[in-house]
């Protein structure tokens, strides 16, 4: 008889004869979905469980090592512990994407059991093996401390907070998804299992080890002969073997005879009944390669005679033939930069370099697809269900009938831009259609690192000038991006990098040239900040250099140039009434000037909404179902909390409490297209659509109360931010709209009894489309409007000036203008998380490549841990005059990240006078160049001598 391993899990005795990681046993055999699979390498902590009361990584411990022990997961915590953590995490805003949360809860709960009153430092150490990419850890630490206080009886839970009777805009809203994420029963795609889909099989691609190699032959015969293998799919089995978010250049699979473009390119897709057979079958596929010299970097891509990574691509229906490795280029000019710089009192010029970086979202890509109606349904983790539908439909040759593909966005364990392109969705769909089965396809962590687009590497030269008083005169710059093997979102990202290279200042002479080069590195695309992190790092360094030349403080330099409402931005757009950059500068003035010898400052701006003339609409339907107003809008809540924001918008407009509100299924079948979670746009663009629909609902509720007739069919309207018309063209006449009073949070006109009025509207539907046109880049207008609005920020980084910690970051002050703060709980976590991501970008994060082969593992990316965080102060300024859309809310998602890295650089510059022009910064206490073995080794070596 085989060896047996017996242990208890959440109080029940279990026995298995399989020796495997406990993570796999708990998920696959016991169906405990709270135990998340974030890396299976021991690096991320999402699978943390309690083993005899000690927080332990489930992927490291095996069933053999668990023998005789007591295992606990979130499902097995006491009721009091569960409630304390749900409440505490919700109340402080510790939950964003939620994928790290059950592991954090277990690390916290095991600590609190041993030590009911832990210090902040002890909490940090308890979770130092748990990565969180959203919150910056601060809120999670607060959450664990609060849960401990509740369990000790020192604090009480306020049940009204989760109930949400006051859920309007500006209220402290308990996020809608806290409970299911803390207790681990919310479903990410990987949580869909055989119990849900009994015919589930598993797919995974055999991927290229070489960045550039000709696939000479693919022999799948042995794999196909293996019992339990459903089949193997090759390039020839794909109806249209090329996908892409905007530019179609991404081979679904590399065909025999074709050349790979990066490590991780799919060669064939193996489908098997179970994951063990799948792994075995993948090893049986024999691929013969002719290895070719890769294009390693921009210099090699530009070199004469360089091999073309792509000889053509398809873009918006056009076939584009390429003659060099330039994927995308932009040239943005205004005024006369050359003349302005020549006439400037002070001019600085410098090169800047920033690395590829990895999103490192906690949830690796996963999709489950199955045959559905006359096509296929995909349960996905992505940043836009309709984007995924478009790409998958294109692969099937169904461009004209994309509705054959239905995409449902499940919970998304973080995205940050890295889940805009399809990764596994199309592969799962392909296998599902081909074999008529439910197929799960997920990436291992290492595949995810190699495959999804990174933040672009940049090499740039900036020349910035100003007059004697420090007023900026002109900017000339050349921005070179390495976009790797595929275009992904190279065009828009490069464009945003160029349009934001100018900074949030008022000067009118710019000459900005941007180039995105194909190489054989992993692809680069969208990543929180969308190109702006790179160029603002360069610009803000130049700002400090100029301030030194003029002889004024860097704060003063920014103050003299900062844009104000009514002034013209360098792109020609007139800053709107809500612009509060100067207010953010004032918020950090004292702390900066007080510490100026060892502090750095940076300003930033970031667009909200896609803008630049593109049809970027927000759409929302509200249907009254089961006595609740259910919001249908296909938008991905990737952790930023837009689903909560939408319900707050409805509560604000109608006066309804949270228990009468719900988010509907986020799928292309049930909900209208409201665009991608990208460009900090959901709060503004979809938020305004939801507000519009909620006004229609409210009007009907008021009609019910007044005894007026209610329209029977769906009520639909559309607006452009200035005027609203019903479907039939008649202007909207809702109460409080014409004078704008109801557009301000806190001034809504509500039914006397909203719940009763809602019940009378069961089955009614209200739909709204918000589309505010913008001007395309280079529009022939004196003041083109590129984007609906911009968010602004000023960030100050204070270093330790003296002592053994000299040069370590002591505090970061991040002052943000994001318009009306919709949810004060959520915005702090957004800012803190963005700041910490920016700090990692500045100091530790890197994605090194050797001959175009990625060298990093999840644990060596340089992600900051809980023990490394400084004191982060999230400050938000709210202006009296706000925009009339979305109750004045502007996006916070991306800008939170942008200002940190330049402020960190400027702080070191102030401390030692050295300009560090490359990220991650050299020569800081965080720089990773410690010699191996360090102290102990030197002691031993000393002993030998």
């Amino acid at each position: 008889m085989a060896e047996q391993f017996t242990f208890t899990v959440n109080g029940k005795t279990v026995t298995t004869d399989q020796d495997k990681p406990l993570l796999r046993f708990l998920r696959d055999d016991l169906g405990l979905t709270s135990v998340k699979d974030g890396c299976s390498e021991g690096a991320c902590g999402t699978c943390t469980v309690g083993v005899d009361g000690i927080a332990t990584k489930g992927c490291v411990i095996t069933t053999r090592l668990a023998q005789g022990r007591t295992i606990e997961t979130v499902e097995g915590l006491t009721h009091e512990e569960q409630e304390a953590f749900v409440y505490a995490f919700g109340a402080v805003g510790a939950v964003q994407c939620g994928f790290c949360i059950p592991g954090m809860v277990m690390s916290g709960a095991m600590l609190v059991r041993r030590n009911p009153d832990p210090s902040e430092e002890e909490v940090k150490w308890a979770i130092r093996g748990n990565i969180c990419r959203c919150t910056g850890y601060k809120k999670i630490i607060e959450g664990i401390l609060k849960a401990a206080a509740i369990l000790r009886g020192d604090e009480r839970m306020d049940d009204a907070l989760e109930k949400g009777d006051d859920y309007g805009v500006g209220e402290r809203a308990f996020r809608v998804d806290v409970r299911r994420k803390v207790l681990g029963y919310g479903k990410y795609p990987d949580d869909l299992a055989r119990e849900d889909y009994p015919d589930m099989c598993y797919a995974s691609a055999v991927r290229s080890k070489y960045p550039r190699a000709r696939v000479v032959s693919i022999d799948t015969s042995k794999a196909e002969a293996l019992p339990g293998v459903v089949g193997v799919l090759l390039a020839r089995d794909v109806p249209v073997n090329q996908v892409g978010h905007l530019i179609q250049d991404w081979d679904v699979m590399i065909a025999e005879g074709d050349v790979t473009r990066c490590v991780g390119d799919a060669i064939c897709l193996v489908v098997a009944e179970d994951e063990a057979t799948l792994a075995k079958a993948k090893r049986l596929v024999k691929v013969e390669y002719e290895v070719l010299e890769p294009v390693r970097n921009i210099a090699e891509a530009k070199a004469a005679g360089a091999p073309l990574v792509h000889d053509s691509f398809n873009a918006f229906g056009n076939h584009v033939v390429l003659h060099d490795n330039v994927c995308q280029s932009r040239h943005i000019t205004r005024g006369d930069a050359k003349a302005a710089l020549a006439a400037s009192a002070h001019v600085v010029t410098h090169d800047f370099e920033t690395p590829f970086t990895e999103h490192a979202f906690l949830e690796p890509e996963c999709a489950v697809a199955f045959p559905y109606k006359n096509g296929v349904k995909v349960c996905s983790t992505d940043q836009g269900a309709y984007d995924t539908r478009k790409e998958v439909a294109h692969m099937f040759g169904w461009d004209a009938e994309p509705e054959r593909v239905v995409v449902q966005t499940m919970l998304v364990g973080g995205g940050f831009g890295g889940k805009e392109d399809v990764s596994v969705q199309h592969l799962a769909a392909l296998a599902a259609v081909r074999f008529g089965r439910t197929v799960k396809c997920k990436l291992t962590r290492q595949e995810s690192l190699a495959f999804h687009p990174k933040r672009h590497y940049m090499y740039a030269t900036f020349t910035l000038g100003c007059d004697e008083d420090g007023h900026l005169t002109g900017l000339d710059c050349e921005v070179n991006f390495d976009t790797g093997a595929y275009a992904s979102l190279c065009g828009p990202v490069l464009e945003r990098a160029c349009t934001h290279a100018v900074g949030p200042y008022t000067y009118q002479n710019t000459d900005i040239r941007g180039f995105g080069y194909y190489t054989n590195n992993p692809p680069a695309g969208a990543f929180r900040g969308f190109g702006v992190c790179q160029t603002e790092f360069a610009l803000e360094a130049c700002m400090d250099l100029l301030a030194n030349e003029v002889g004024i403080s860097p704060w003063e330099m920014r103050w003299r140039n900062a844009v104000e409402p009514g002034e013209v931005l360098p792109n020609g757009q007139i800053a709107d009434c809500s612009t509060a950059l100067k207010e953010t500068l004032l918020a950090v003035k004292d702390v900066y000037e007080k510490n100026a010898s060892h502090a750095g400052i940076a300003c930033a701006m970031k667009n909200s909404g896609v803008g630049v003339g593109l049809p970027d609409a927000g759409r929302a339907n509200i249907r009254v179902e089961g006595g609740r107003a259910v919001v249908y809008s296909a938008t991905s809540d990737i952790g930023q909390g837009c689903n909560t924001v939408f319900l707050q918008d409805v509560a604000e407009a109608t006066g309804l409490p949270l228990e009468a509100l719900a988010n509907g299924e986020c799928s292309t079948e049930a909900a209208p297209d409201s665009g991608t979670t990208s460009g900090s746009r959901q709060t503004v663009v979809t938020g305004e659509a939801v507000r519009g629909a909620a006004f229609l609902l409210r009007d009907a509720m008021l009609d019910v109360e007044a005894g007026r007739p209610v329209p029977q069919g769906p009520v639909r309207a559309k607006g452009d931010g200035k005027t609203i018309t019903y479907e039939d063209g008649t202007p909207y006449q809702g109460v409080g709209y014409a004078d704008g009073s109801a557009l301000v949070a806190g001034h809504g006109i509500h039914p006397a009894d909203p719940r009763a009025a809602l019940l009378a509207l069961e089955g009614h539907e209200f739909g709204y489309v918000y589309f505010e046109p913008t001007d395309k880049l280079g529009a022939d207008k004196p003041n083109p409007k590129s984007h609906i609005c911009y968010g602004f920020s000023s960030t100050v980084v204070v270093l330790e000036e003296k002592g053994p910690n000299r040069g370590k970051i002591k505090e970061i002050y991040a002052a943000h203008d994001s318009g009306k703060v919709v949810n004060p709980i959520a915005i702090q976590g957004q800012i803190e998380g963005g700041v910490l991501m920016g700090m990692g970008y500045a100091l530790t994060e890197d994605f090194p490549m050797k001959d175009a082969v990625p060298q990093a593992k999840y644990g060596t990316l340089g992600l900051l841990h809980s023990t490394q965080i400084p004191n982060i102060h999230a400050i938000y300024v709210e202006k009296e005059h706000l925009l009339p859309v979305s109750y004045g809310g502007k996006g916070i998602g991306e800008i939170a990240t942008i200002g940190t890295a330049p402020a960190v650089q400027n702080a070191y510059h102030q401390l030692d006078g050295e300009l560090r022009w490359r990220l991650p910064l050299d020569d800081t206490p965080y720089s990773r160049k410690r010699a191996w073995g360090d102290e102990r080794l030197s002691v031993l070596k000393g002993a030998e001598e």
Binding site: G42, A43, R128
Partner: protein
Amino acid sequence: MAKRMPRVAVVHCAGGTAPLDGIVREELPHDCAQIKAAHPNGIGVCSWGCLGGGSCEAACPFGAIHVDPERHVAVVDRDACRGCGKCAKACPQHLITVAPAANVIQVRCSNQDRGPTARKACPNSCIGCGMCERVCPMGAVRVVDGRAVIDDEKCVACGMCATKCPRGAIHDANGIMAVR
């Protein structure tokens, strides 16, 4: 300023090597420096290990380190240890470091001999095979001079190295990932 997290002494030897011919442990002086002076090549088949003289024990102000009478190796009482480092200074074999108490995963061997020699020297020896280095997700373990060294700043104590070590040379103070 936040309270400093506790640190404890770690002995990078698990004991277990056989004494060299002619060595009678009971007859050795209770001073490791004297033992080392008298026996420059050590007293066991493994020349790198604990001499068992108890200099660390004598140096410890808290009674937190003792030479185990059966395994002839210094063992730390982690609850009593205050991390002062006096034992580390007292050890002429340089077997003791002071590490964060939370870093429960530690290499308990300091043998720098080549693999086959190290293997023969002791049942608990690190042979420098590099398995730990390959499986460590954090890049925190490296084989340096023939034996594994953990970078305490990078280590998050996941225990992956301990579960995979074919020699049981990597120890988990919590006794979960490796019990020896």
